[in-house]
Amino acid sequence: MVSAIFIIAVGLGTAFLLGLVKSDQKGFAFTLTVAALAVMTWIAYDWTVALSRGTVEPATILTAGTQPPFAINLHIGLAEAWLLTVINATGLLAAFYMRAALCRLGKGAMSVLLVMVMALSGLVLTRDVFNLFVFFELIVIATGGLVLLSEDARAVAAGFKYLVVSQIVSILLLIGIIFTYHANGSLNIDDIAAVPFGLQGASLAMFLVLMALVLELKPFPANGWALDIYESAHPGFSAIFSAASGTAALFAADKLVAAAGPAWLPLMTVIGLFTFLGSNVLALKQDNDRRLLGYSSVAQIGLVFAIVGQRDILGEGYLFVAGGVLITHAVAKAGLYWISGLVPGRGLADWAILRANPVLVFAFASFVAMLVGLPPFPGFYAKWDLMHALAGSGRFWIMALILAGALVEAGYMFRFFGYAIKRETQERFPGFAVDKVAVVVAALAAGWALGFVWGGISLNPNLLTLVPVLFALLFIVLEPLPAWVKNIIAIVGLVGWFWFRMGNYDPLQMIFAAVMLVGGAVILIASFYEHGRRIGFYVPTMLMYAGLALLIEAQTSFDFFAAWEVLTIGSYFLILRGRMGEPHALSYILFSLGGAFLILAGFALASTGVQPFELKSGLSAIAEASVPAAPWVFALLAVGFMTKTASIGLHIWLPGAHAEAETDVSPMVSGILLKAGLYGLFLLVMTMGRQKIGSIDLTEVLVWIGAISALLGGVMAIFQEDAKRLLAYSSISQLGYAVFGLALMNHVGWLLALMFVINHYIYKSMLFLAVGGVYKRTGTKLMYKMGGLITLMPFTFVSVLIGIIAMSGVPPLSGFGGRWLFYNAIMASDLRLPMVLIFISGPIGFLYLFRLIHTIFFGQLKDEHRKLKEAPVWLVIPQMMFVLALLAFAVLPGMALQKVDAYIGTFFGDQPLVWSGRAITSTYGYWSPVAVMVVIGVIFVAVLLLLMSMGLNAQKVKQFNIVFSAERPFKPQTTHFAWNFFAPYRKAVGFLVMPLVTTFWGAVTDTLHSTADFTRRLYTGNGQTYAVQVLVFVVAVYLIVLGGAQ
């Protein structure tokens, strides 16, 4: 083993050596620097591997062979090794990245970089407070130097401000050290730890030392100086400043906090949370990419700080959690800063230039996911463990605040990403420097590797070893293949997985799996119509399906949550692909993540901190034991799931997301994705049953929510001019029915919900494909611009016709089965009033469905549509499959439902439906689908023959051959009655569709934004102001914390 001190020795030595190199030998100097950094990195990595494997023990190194304070005392353990690796690797990559700048400025700059990395390493290694100060000063000077690397004129000012503030910090630190030595007689951290400081007595000394380090971590709001550096410094350096400096300083602070004793932890928590929330809110308003990343960095450090405050409850998992967040942040932020160096413009939308290189887009997406804590990155595992620990020890407020902050962060990071994917930029594409891209790719690889490592360390399954996820990720490699090849692989994968796993499913899972996997495969048939390579489609699609596949089979709460997150990520990228998808994808991801956080909180609450938590038995157990938290678990999970079912109040993401999605994506996100929420709700009510908060039965609340969704979704659908939006609102309504049925908590109600799962999948997918096909041909989604397409697109017409008959519940098609079950279900329920809403919403379905078919296929054909062709055959094929499926399901509903019926019976211990032959008898009524179909069919044919017997000489006429009060129509557009089709309805019940919910969520985001705007004014950009802020911060914290304690 090479001693860790060589990291410092090599760094320092090479820095001196550089002085001897001739100043015109820049290439040689650079090689030397890189070599030194590589050696340093290798040493750190070597230690990391060895320590992780347990082949060596943590080592303490004493220079000069004596005890401190007369010698430098270093310590290397697992945490140190990890951090050293990160710091040195960052330094190494940064050196490559900044090659041009370094060569321009010469060997001086290179030695400063080496000193910087060396000092950061020292900060991590040292166990001595005074050395801490020494390294600290070195960092300050090196930072000041490196800031000047930038070509930005503001960098000088920023560096100066930094030096001013740093000197204040240094003074605080020095005074603190003197006091500490005075009080303790030793500067060794371990000695200090032996006699923990309380908040009493000598605490001022500790306070000053800690505050110095805290300030170095840029706590909100005393951090204006740091942001100026982020904004103006060379991005290569910003990466070091954010990733390495932050990490090192944090670790130093952590060392001291550990030494100072648990009494200091609440202070850390408060400062950390305050910083996390404050910086995130501020970041919302940023329009400069680097400043936004700066705020995000500060926020992330604040988060880790808050985690440091939780080290008392995290126990052994502390390093896993804190390290996970810290290292992910370091990698992601370094990566992002390096990407920002590739982007010529400084606006957020300027990142759109990245679209020229899919690898960079993938890197950007990965880094964003890392920062937000999405799987499969370490932050995800850390988040999971942290929440469980917090819930286990009752720290609900901290939980809530961290999740809120994370949601805000997700908000601006995904908005940023959305800009990059969808916006146009004015900047010219400069061509990306290959070496810089390579550096970014290195960070990317590191990020994924860390995800793998963390997954492996985690108590829970490693997501990167799960077959569905790997299958989805396989498509990254397959991207160069043509779309049809990938499509075949995807379809085979979905069907194969279903086939392979079929034996393990219970009937409920079977239904959902059939809808999600086989159904997904059917929809994918439509994707054959796309030509070319269709980059960026299959990875998210298959991620979504992977998530769904895993969701169905989830055994533990972790499995479930991880699957949920995976499918959320996949579907987000899918939705973002839509033409005007950017704002809708953003609101989708925000609602989904918000929902996911609630689910996380719910699981954490349910598990009371104990992992692993077996999902079904665990939830039933807490429900049976009537744990006081049980109803809250129910509520959290229910709301979480309802973000996916888009129940009213949480629905505003849906219409846009579904309407703007691509033709084959709309049915996926509508027909399939929404069912994930329903599956969650199913599990929830199956395991937890009725829960009461106070005297309110939560399932009754669900009944109401379902009923209101069904009604308002329908009413809003009536007034849409956009065909896809109409269908999207109709989904809200249909899912409302399903939630309603589920929440009735009786046998038939659940069957009803399942029937809707199947039915809604079939007809909504069919309708979305049909409308998508029409959109493909007409180039518009506005229904009043279409008309008369029946003869041009007969197949599409048939599928819409069958779809709307089925959906409206008119016999003999399958929608009627849903209505019949519905009546039987409500008869068995004690509730009365919510039924009224459902009764109203039933016929409303007719209105929007008729409008859909009338305004598109009937009425007047427009000039420019006269030569339209039928929709692409690949879109028609799945539609025809759906038509057949609908007819089959209408005649033989028993095929799909009989088994499930028996399965549900095991929950309720009853069997209200009797399946005899093809007829079904319930407690209240009976229904014979075959008889209905036959009777109607026979009558229909008889009447048709009757009509034909009265003469077959009908003259086929054209569209203007109508009686027009003895006039003739002017033009098709003026004759097609379509716009504002239900004007009288709007006059009568238009008040129902006032956008109250949209206004509410709008107000929430507006408030956040204006808060950010107001707070931003604290950052004047003036160095003196910053200095004063720092001092005021210290004094204020002192007064609040210590004053309060005495």
């Binding site: 420019e864 203007f960 003895a966 006039e967």
Partner: protein
């Protein structure tokens, strides 16, 4: 008596241009293809009217004629001042309903077109359209002198003089204006004609279609519709 300027010659040269919305035009389809639209051809059926035979069996035809006679549905279209004389037929005083007569608002469902009085050229166009949109067998009654020979509008530049030049008339009711009683009597007479199977105006129209069209087009200069308005 008014003197006539023997030297006056009406303008037979000037053609009236086809109206803008009926002119052929080109539009760009959503897929970028430029397509030609000829509204008269694309939006209207161009078939000529057909002669519809009577039923093979005389008894059946007689039975049908009885039903047609006793179920006269009049198109609610008042072309001239005589329309006001039709309204009293619905009142208790005359009560035409008892004869199976009623008014329908759409030509598709009406069998009887009553040209109620003078017919200006402008209205003639509408009357032709309404007539052609009715289903066979269909009947036309000319009400008042103006439909017979121009009546008091005999010298008007803008009203036709002989309705049967333009539409096949089954029955004229003379008078200026005929009172409702006369109208009722006329309808009873029409019933008899129908019963006798002589009300075959629609077939006559189809057989002499070219002659009727030529007459119609000679007075309607802005002929901007298909020859037969289905």
């Amino acid at each position: 008596m008014k003197d006539m300027d023997k030297s006056f010659r009406k303008d037979t040269e000037t053609e009236f241009p086809l109206r803008e919305e009926m002119r052929p035009r080109t539009v760009t389809a959503p897929d970028g293809q430029v397509i030609e639209i000829d509204p008269l051809r694309d939006y209207f059926c161009e078939e000529a009217p057909k002669v519809h035979r009577k039923s093979y069996s005389a008894i059946v035809e007689g039975f049908y004629n009885w039903a047609r006679a006793n179920s006269l549905w009049i198109l609610g279209f008042g072309t001239g001042c005589g329309a006001i004389e039709m309204r009293p037929l619905m009142t208790p005083r005359f009560d035409a309903y008892r004869y199976g007569i009623q008014w329908r608002p759409t030509p598709r469902q009406a069998n009887l077109l009553i040209i109620s009085g003078y017919l200006s050229v402008k209205t003639l166009k509408r009357a032709i359209r309404a007539y052609e949109q009715m289903q066979q067998p269909k009947f036309v009654v000319g009400l008042g002198s103006c439909t017979i020979n121009g009546g008091m509008y005999w010298d008007s530049y803008n009203t036709i003089k002989r309705l049967d030049d333009y539409l096949p008339v089954d029955l004229y009711i003379a008078g200026c204006m005929p009172r409702p009683e006369a109208l009722l009597a006329g309808l009873m007479e029409l019933k008899k004609i129908i019963r006798r199977g002589e009300a075959e105006g629609a077939n006559k129209y189809a057989e002499n279609f070219d002659w009727y069209k030529a007459n119609q087009k000679s007075v309607i200069k802005d002929w901007d519709m298909p020859d037969y308005s289905w």
